[in-house]
Amino acid sequence: MQSPFNEIDPGARDSNSLIAEFREATKRYGDVLAADALSFGIRRGEFLSFLGPSGCGKTTALRMLAGFEVPTSGIVLLDGQRVNEVPAYRRPVNMVFQHYALFPHLSVAENIAYGLLQRRPRPDRADVARKVDRALEMVRLPGFGPRRIWEMSGGQQQRVALARAIVNEPKLLLLDEPLAALDRKLRREMQIELQTLQRQLGITFVLVTHDQEEALSMSDRICIMRGGKIVQSGSPNALYDEPISRYVADFVGKSNFIEGVFSHGPDGTGRILTPSGQLFEGRVSQPLAPNAKASLSIRPEQIELTHVSRGGAEQVTVINRIFLGEHTEYLVRHAALGDLLVLVARQAEASEGGFAPGDTAFIGWAKSTALILVQD
């Protein structure tokens, strides 16, 4: 586990650069700890994601920011102010809901104007209309104002939900699995759009998702959550390259794991002794006790698949081949290590020649690319 602020550089710790902050924020539902003493700062203008499986507390964290949940203990700060009991309708925060939650009895324009029209004193009609039009342009739906909600496709509804939130110029834009209901191609498009929009507007975005690809592709920073706690936070690159535990490595990207018992090696490296008696070396980034159960993690793209054995290679049988365009994904079976995923770039496959299911092949990897991780 990390200390609360280890991802925040000292300069960022003063409250001016943090738009929101959890301090030991805990949310308990009966016996269930949905958020377990969360301490975490959200930087002004960043695109932050909470990533984790369902029930990990990511949605609770988001709902505490929105004002739908009051923390059982601890503090939630918004722009330096304690907001624990401030109801949602008084917070300068807007949310894009998972299933959009658009008002079915209002037109697209009325939906978008809804937030503006709640302000007191009531804003000028013409001003509202202008802002609504601008928001519609921003989400690339110009002229859709008079349409009814049920006339819009899923992707369009998603954009309306986005426009309805950003038109209020919130200090924080919360996104609760906003792309979950869209098909793959549309999701990809929206990811790019969301990112562009976030840069244009300079609004802090907080995204909750269980889709690692979504988090990796859009975020400046990701918090990996588990059991109501933040397990690790950092940039997508950092999480991918330097996961602190098997859980994180498994959640961020794909990885192969070789289980075994840990022992120290030379120069801060480590070794894993598998039950079958094989010894593998790897990097160690987190302190590990000798004889502790650990996993060696090797990313699929770090493994080299060859027809002939090179030094230290392991013999495998090719089980399956999936062509992915610029990559080919192979599932290979090792007598002792079990099934492993290997990702071969198109160029590499071209020079080495392809493999067919049933072929005997050899796998190898650079020791520096294998990472020994705590099994948590």
């Binding site: 004002g67 939650a101 709640q118």
Partner: protein, 283 residues
């Protein structure tokens, strides 16, 4: 062809039933309404508007029905809406079914028996006696419009609660979160989201209660004691007592006409309020 045949077969029993038991009698009534009364009572074929010209003679029944039916509907709605709201939005889901059953339970007893209960409650030995005993003077409740209204609201409340409850229960609660998130305090959320989206249920409930009230006969007969009577009571009187079938038919045709007009107007109003949505179900 096969499909069309099976469609007809499916519709035949109900179609036949309605044709014989509803359309045909209605035609008789319409024909009768242009006829004349036989001296000893009954019907003489004729074509005259005499009966319709005579309608003002039954003005009191029309007036009572046309004031108490809408009033009863509105009163039922005012009482049923908060109850339905509580059941759908606030009640613990554990108890919800139980509470709903409690709303429906009175339906399991005959309205006749329940109206008798009200005769005793509102009669001389009931509430008025209590009021008198408490020193507030003597009041009369039974056989007043108040008594009829009480009986109506009591009897028809479940019919109003259920459709309103269903529409509130079906309402996506996330819309209320979205409304709060966009800055609307609870009352505003209710007025701008909950209320408009529950209108289909309100419309259905009002329609059910209003239509049934227009033809109501039993409650005014028992709690109105011949002093507060509806068109239904007038019809019974005309057909069974004075045996003036032609005039009775004219009154009945007028009642049906009034109902058709009000219901049509009401439906078009509701459709407009519902934002011309196609999926607004009125019935």
């Amino acid at each position: 062809m096969q499909r069309r045949l099976s469609t007809w077969l499916l519709l035949a029993p109900a179609g036949l039933w309605f044709a014989v038991m509803l359309v045909l009698p209605l035609c008789f009534v319409l024909v009768f309404s242009f006829g004349q009364r036989e001296a000893a009572g009954g019907y003489v074929p004729a074509f005259t508007f005499e009966q319709y010209a005579n309608l003002p003679a039954r003005w009191t029944a029309f007036r009572n029905t046309l004031t108490l039916a809408p009033l009863g509907t509105i009163l039922s709605l005012l009482i049923a809406y908060p109850l339905a709201y509580f059941l759908a939005m606030r009640a613990d889901p554990k108890w919800r079914t139980m509470l709903l059953i409690l709303v429906i339970v009175p339906f399991w007893t005959s309205i006749l028996i329940r109206s008798y209960a009200w005769i005793f409650i509102l009669g001389g030995q009931g509430l008025p006696a209590l009021v008198d005993w408490l020193g507030f003077g003597s009041i009369r409740l039974i056989n007043t419009p108040f008594a009829v209204l009480t009986g109506i609201v009591y009897g028809y409340l479940p019919l109003m609660v259920l459709p309103v409850y269903v529409s509130l229960e079906r309402l996506d609660k996330r819309l209320l979160e979205a409304s709060a998130d966009l800055g609307a305090p609870p009352l505003q959320s209710f007025l701008q989201i909950t209320l408009p989206l529950s209108l289909p249920g309100v419309a259905t409930g009002c329609m059910l209660v209003f239509i049934l009230l227009m033809g109501e006969f039993l409650i005014p007969a028992m709690l109105g004691g011949g002093k507060v009577f509806f068109i239904g009571n007038a019809l019974v009187d005309l057909f069974l007592q004075s045996r003036n079938w032609a005039f009775g038919a004219a009154v009945a045709v007028t009642l049906v006409a009034i109902m058709l007009v009000t219901v049509t107007l009401y439906m078009s109003l509701m459709r407009r309020l519902g934002g011309a949505r196609e999926d607004v179900s009125l019935m």
